[in-house]
């Protein structure tokens, strides 16, 4: 009995990880209002949430791939490719938006499907396979733009990237909407049960009549589609075609999911932790900018703080 209660406590603490993160975020916000008096406003938080939304949406996809025991490094390049083809496809004209959207959707589907085929049918390790798609897509982007992409986004896409609904940025609304949807799917549906089972014990899932391959393929395609959505939002926000837009989305989305309490080995984790994880990453970046820390210093501080957060979570988890 003693054994049980101890283990149960440990089990509950695992789901506590998002709460620890929330507490850390609140402490950070408090610290900011003390360090830079008057800087803390609702609008500032909303702006950070808009900046976090692209990473946040990507991290949702990444979280599902991690959940089924995989990893997706190609999300950043998917963003870049969608950005470039969205701008060239739409030619800054609203009339070409539907065709451009279809093109982007097609790109996302192809990347996701390619990852799925490589991982499932060629048995390539997810890390390597998605790294390959990354490199190939990067190459395509360089060749296609000849190294110098030009153009700007269609007004509709711009509106999505910059507009607000009752003061809340559209991109934030889309992000949280997708998060709520994913949460409902994972929490309440058979699909969610199956995804957790496949990640938690693939052999057990298979022997229970679950089709692992379909689910894993679906996870990679979902991740690519989330990256596509993020790419469209970023295109609207930045209004340029750029070869540097991929940023560090692959690594940062992984970090967001893991900080949020999702297990890298699969089978465990939720949605809200990932949402908080993404917000945390952006908040950290914004605060370091506000404190006037140089780009180089930012990287060092960012790394150290993420390390500290994860260390705290591990310590609290232990007993």
């Amino acid at each position: 009995m003693r054994h049980n209660s101890l283990l149960q406590r440990a089990g509950r603490l695992h789901s506590l990880q998002p709460l620890i993160l929330l507490a850390i975020i609140l402490v950070m916000i408090l610290a900011q209002s003390i360090l830079v008096p008057g800087s803390l406003t609702l609008d500032q938080l909303l702006i950070i949430s808009r900046q976090a939304s692209a990473l946040g949406i990507i991290a949702l996809g990444q979280a599902v791939v991690i959940l089924v025991g995989g990893i997706d490094l190609s999300v950043g390049t998917t963003v870049m490719m969608v950005n470039i083809f969205c701008i060239t496809g739409m030619q800054a004209s609203n009339s070409r938006v539907p065709a451009g959207l279809l093109l982007c959707l097609g790109i996302g589907l192809m990347i996701g499907a390619a990852n799925a085929v490589g991982v499932l049918f060629l048995n390539i390790a997810p890390f390597v396979m998605t790294l390959c798609t990354t490199t190939i897509c990067q190459g395509i982007c360089y060749v296609y733009t000849q190294g110098a992409p030009t153009g700007s986004a269609a007004p509709f896409i711009r509106a999505v990237g910059t507009g607000r609904l009752l003061g809340v940025p559209y991109s934030t609304v889309i992000w949280l909407g997708l998060a709520a949807l994913l949460w409902a799917v994972l929490r309440f549906t058979t699909l969610g049960r199956k995804l957790y089972a496949v990640g938690g014990n693939p052999k057990a899932a298979r022997l229970s009549g679950i089709s692992n391959r379909k689910l894993i393929a679906g996870a990679y395609i979902f991740s690519a589609l989330m990256a596509t959505a993020a790419g469209l939002i970023l295109t609207g926000y930045h209004n340029i075609a750029s070869l540097t837009l991929e940023g560090d989305y692959a690594m940062n989305s992984l970090a967001a999911a893991l900080i949020g309490g999702n297990a890298i080995e699969g089978g465990r984790g939720g949605v809200w932790g990932v949402v908080l994880g993404s917000f945390f990453m952006m908040l950290l970046m914004a605060m370091l900018t506000m404190l006037g820390i140089s780009q180089v210093g930012k990287l060092i501080t960012q790394g150290c703080i993420i390390l500290a957060v994860v260390a705290v979570q591990q310590l609290l988890k232990r007993d």
Partner: protein
Amino acid sequence: MEYEYLQLLHITKKFPGVTALDDVSVSVRQGEIHALVGENGAGKSTLMNILGGNLQPDQGEIRLDGQSVRITSPIDAFQKGIGFVHQESNLLENLSVYENVFLGRERVGALGRTRRREMCQEILSSSQRLGYALEPEKPVSELNLAQRQSVEITRALLGKPRILILDEPTAALAEDEVERLFKIVRGLRQEGVSILYISHRLDEIIELADRVTVLKDGKLAGVLEREELDKDKLVRMMVGRVIQDIYPDRSQVQPGRELLKVDQLTIPGRLDQVSFTLRAGEIVGLGGLEGQGQRTVARAVFGDLRFTQGQITVENAVLKSGGIAERIRGGVAYVTHDRRGEGLVPHQSIRKNGSLATLERLSNSIGWMREGRERREIQEHMDSLQIKASSMEQLASHLSGGNQQKVMLTRWLMIHPKVLIIDEPTKGIDIGARMSIYQIIHQLTQAGIGILMLTSDMVELIGLSDRTLIFYEGRIVRELARDEVTEERIMKAASGITEG
């Protein structure tokens, strides 16, 4: 040989809320095989962990060779001449036999070069002395369970132990491999090594042990000398019941209509024209040595293996070579022999594990789970199978083996099966929970389910099966009815000996 080399005196070990060992004394003579029996939770593992240096007793004394000692760590135990062969294999798959045996105590020459040839030679001589053959350079991943165990024993013997602890050494072995292990153990006794032998299998203990110490609920229930050994007596001491009560009385069973028909099933190199039937309310046991095709048949029936020749019929419907999902819909269930590896999702609750094969039935048309109904059904099964847990939200990994097996049964009973295949129904489960599993199986047959049982435990095979099919090299070589089945007949058939 009456000299008591090891004495554990008045050992008490308390954990918060539970007394694992209460004033237990055990003494082991030099060169004897001393068995330690008891149900799970009786205190066997705690006692062994104290002896192995993993735990410190709260009270009591350990004497080795008359000297009072403190065993502070597993390494300390090794240095004091206590070898430990654990129940679960602790070998590193990617290394070879000799690398595993000498792990952490490599023979090293000049410049830190390992002396491979010397180590291999040492393994060869030690294994030959005990009458088995190990290939020192073979990777462990290529060895079967019995060979791996020999590697573990060789490793434990490296420290020239005076005491060797064997924890459930036969749990994963087939009958012929068990015989081989016994030879090794007896050989060690000849050399004056004291063996502490822990096992659930009472027949083995009666065959092998010189003395038996019985533990019950953390207390010493008694010590039996070889002459006094008797299965009924042992069971009574362990659980307070007699052996006839262990297996349900199935002499009055009247099987009903035919549920499963396997006809000329052939998978080249694995199965050769296997045919049999299973009727409602019947338990058909598939026996034989390990890997003779029993599991292949079970997996083929469950849709996990493709077959090109032959036919499988469930309730007169011919099964196409579709997958597992289709078989489940057709009412075929398979409780795996490997609960942890391919049965349970460890980090999930009893509830979610229980409903994993019935998600479609427990959800509406858009896949939204009907959790109320799920909870109700899971609760019913938890009650009827008597799963002991704080709630249905308890994680599967935190349950005892018996309760985990009941969760697996819950998952498969939820599909309302017609044919239930149970592979090793009581592997790693203590005798109390075993009896409860046997009762459940018996009751399921009364409800009209046909049960196909695979087991390497011969007593279980005889005790439960209405008909026993013996496999040898992918064929059924013998069918034995309940009134003609004996251990001897099974062994003969299982070794490929035909009799008239």
